[in-house]
Amino acid sequence: MKKIINAPERVVAEMLRGMELAHSGLIRVIHDFGVVVRADAPVQNKVALVSGGGSGHEPTHGGYVGFGMLDAACAGAVFTSPTPEQMLEATKAVDGGAGVFYVVKNYTGDVLNFEMAGELADAEGIQTDYVVTNDDVAVEDSTFTAGRRGIAGTIFVHKIAGAAAQDGKDLAGVKEIAQRANANMRSMGMALTSCIPPESGEPIFEIGDEEMEIGMGIHGEPGVERKKIEPADQIVDEMLGKILGDTVNFSGSEVAVMVNGLGATPIMELYLAYAHVADVLKREGVQVWGRPYVGEYMTSLEMAGFSITLLKLDDEMKGYLEAPCSVAAGRPF
């Protein structure tokens, strides 16, 4: 394992320290609890947004804390949901009297821990509610599964629900639009290589020199198909086929598009993939809204691969996507 780290057990704490030093004025970090909060939290009378999850997906989630997006993000150990203790701390730090809204990616650990945190917050007299994002179409939903996974589309929920909260929506209103965004978005990922979590020091999975995996999860959970690598256009066709073939009818609508790098994929390849995404969407009568989101939004350490997300927009969501925000993941150049 080759990493620019000091000690595996300190990576999250040291990363948070670097983030805080780099973005003072924007965020502060409650170090004992691994929680990133808006520097000016709590914002009185605004619904506060809290998200979180395992670390290793940077800039998710700490990079999205700031004006117009999250009020706090809880950083778990690498790929491990944070604990209710962290979440409660975040909740208390950001509650401005209008309640706290949790954006939770659909993984058993994240859901259970946020549920427990909500109970603890209730006990302290803080009203909470939550949305569970499950945009990944790779693995089919059924009565037997824990449901679909939440992946990069979650960042759209951060932005839209964050702007809605900034705009003064109440807890129910924030929940409604978060659910609406989640219900209208679909994602799918693929990977070429495994990442190596620092603590185990081993790749999560083995994959051949010529193989790719379609539907790979952001923690290296296996996807739906392992096969020989194909040309970019064909990979995009397959991913978009699955997304467009799902239950949201994107055709004829304006759609926010994200092409998200998982960590080691060169920006060159993301743009190259986007060129074909744009072609397919045009052919299918799907209109790309505004500027597409091409870059690293939710990574998986140094995994090579990417995901595509489509979000079908209405006017309110468009307004909230466009609304100003100021977060560590943003940059002027």
């Binding site: 058993t108 650990g109 821990n113 599964t145 999560i204 923690h219």
Partner: protein, 209 residues
């Protein structure tokens, strides 16, 4: 006093087991999940030991509760709330008791298994720790009702948990990260079922069984 000392040595033995099997549990989790289960359990039981040392609880119930809080607060992932709930329910089942009978221990294991099922919304056959815990609870109850002692009850529970864990190998997962694997989860043991066996086995060994 005897039950308190025994419970402490059970937790100690569990922590040792999690330390020893850390890599293997992580490896099992890599096959079908995200490769953190060993680290999660190890972190949790280290936190439990610290908390016990700091708070010095006096009854088996308080020890288990302290352990539960450490797991809930420090583990995260799915295992944190699930094992946290298990220990919390066991603690509640033993509340006010200073000495423990075989029946008490069986009832605690049963409460723990029921807690995990409820919180995780899972059943036997879903390829989770429930596949180890539910047969363990049944075996413990049988052993207790046929007059076995505390150590033997734990041994019976551990052995059944081991079988249950083994039985997860051919299964497809329906819960947890492994569920995203579909049919490809088959052929690998569930890491949480394995850790459940290891914890019960440690408990039995702590009591010389």
């Amino acid at each position: 006093m005897g039950a308190t000392r025994d419970t402490l040595s059970v937790i100690q033995e569990m922590a040792t087991a999690m330390e020893e099997h850390r890599r293997h549990l992580t490896q099992l989790d890599s096959e079908i999940g995200d490769g953190d289960h060993g680290n999660n359990m190890h972190r949790g039981f280290q936190a439990a030991l610290e908390r016990l040392a700091a708070t010095n609880p006096e009854t088996p119930s308080d020890i288990l509760k302290s352990c539960s809080m450490a797991l809930i607060n420090k583990v995260g992932g799915a295992a944190g709330p699930l094992y946290g709930t298990a220990f919390l329910r066991a603690s509640t089942a033993l509340s006010e008791k200073e000495e423990l009978s075989a029946e008490d221990v069986a009832a605690a294991i049963e409460a723990a298994a029921a807690g995990v099922k409820q919180r995780g919304k899972s059943e036997v056959g879903d390829k989770t720790m429930v596949d180890a815990l539910e047969p363990a609870a049944r075996a413990a109850k049988e052993a207790a009702s046929s007059g076995k002692g505390v150590g033997e009850v734990l041994r019976a529970a551990a052995d059944s948990a081991g079988e249950g864990a083994g039985a997860t190998v051919p299964l497809t997962a329906n819960r947890g990260l492994a569920s995203y694997l579909g049919a490809r989860a088959a052929g690998h043991m569930d890491p949480g079922a394995r850790s459940s066996y290891l914890l019960l086995d440690a408990a039995a060994r702590a009591l010389g069984a």
